[in-house]
Symmetry: C2
Subunit: 205 residues, 2 copies
DNA sequence: TTTTCGTTGCACACCGGTGTGCAGCCTACT
DNA sequence: AGTAGGCTGCACACCGGTGTGCAACGAAAA
């Protein structure tokens, strides 16, 4: 036991272990993204590992999904707080938000499917903070008049980011217009006029 | 064997059988709407019938789902062809379409969840004709300038009715603003200005 | 009355996924 | 050299859902 410094210089063993764990998580996200019903066995072999090893890192399937969700929450919260802190107009902020959220939404698109049935409770619970931040952003847009008010902020934000995830979900079928389509569509849905929406994404494609 | 008339006056036995079959289908739609992973046993008991009886009408779970999907296609096609045939402006036609499609979309919201995994192939295949009619309507709107052209008609129509189903899917969580929310949101997404959208749904709430 | 047939209530086999136990192996740490 | 610990490759039990087989019941149809 050495290493008195701040950086937790892990031993080569521990590093390898963490690599395995991270690889399992990454692969699980990819595999479950393709097929939300994939089993632990599928994930294991895709990660170049035996099923038993996966259970070594995650005692149950729920543990795996929970960890995945926590990752998603961390990443999305980071983007959202940052965007929310900026003083840009809400619609411009939204564009930046989607641009940065898109890769995340796409990677974690499986959560949309897993939201239902068996893990839904857990996922929904963990996603709470994200929902709030999202609603804040939309509310800000509504108060400043750049977003429409046909729906309450909470509901509108849910629908809007549901759509972003939905587009991420159906992306593979049609090349990859994903990010742009998601941005424009969500802007329109938020009540931003088409011309303004096009201009905004033109600035930041 | 009597009954030479056009109307197939079924015997009381056949009528009872059909009633059972129809009840199973209706109940299956409701139960699967609540939980897409419900088993044949759940459906059976909800229909006041034994599991074995369900298998008597539908040899396999896939048969049940297929029949359900065929029902959905029939209903949606009817609405779409009728709306498509009218000479109203595309955006007005869209309002009528959603108004009439809404109950159907809500009833069959389970198909959104079942679209993935195991039955996805079958469902997607059967839904082909609906997709075409939908794309026609959107294309008409784009050509006449009432719908935005930021996305090709085929893709836009998919996203738009995906959203309608998505809202139908998350409806129960927030009272039931469903139909109106779905209509306005989808109109906005199609590029219809907010004022125009509000006016349109005002005409036909 | 006799037959037909949908329904019932068992039984059963089958399957796939989950989670656990354990001995062995190989490698990095001590 | 010795040991600790992650990975392996089995083994196994368990569970829940699927689909089938069959004898029996009861009511409508012949």
């Amino acid at each position: 036991m050495c290493n008195n410094g701040v950086v937790p210089t892990e031993s080569s063993r521990a590093r390898a272990t963490n690599e395995t764990r991270d690889r399992i998580l990454d692969v699980a996200l990819a595999v479950l993204g393709e097929n939300p019903d994939a089993g632990m066995g599928d994930i294991a072999s895709a990660a170049g590992v035996v099923r038993r090893t996966v259970y070594g890192h995650f005692p149950s399937r729920l543990d795996l999904v929970r960890t995945l969700t926590e990752r998603a929450v961390t990443e999305m919260t980071a983007v959202l707080t940052e965007v929310n802190a900026s003083d840009a107009a809400a619609d411009a902020a939204w564009v930046g938000f989607i641009a940065r959220l898109w890769p995340v939404a796409y990677r974690y698109r499986v959560l949309l499917a897993l939201r239902r049935g068996e893990y839904g409770e857990t996922i929904h619970g963990l996603l709470g903070p994200v929902d709030e931040l999202l609603a804040d952003l939309v509310k800000r847009g509504q108060d400043s008049g750049v977003f429409a008010q046909h729906l309450p902020a909470g509901m509108l934000s849910q629908v809007a980011y549901g759509v972003v995830f939905a587009i991420a979900d159906t992306d593979l079928s049609n090349g990859t217009p994903g990010a742009r389509a998601a941005t424009i569509t969500s802007l329109l849905m938020l009540g931003v006029p088409e011309t303004r929406a096009i201009a905004l994404v033109g600035d930041q494609p």
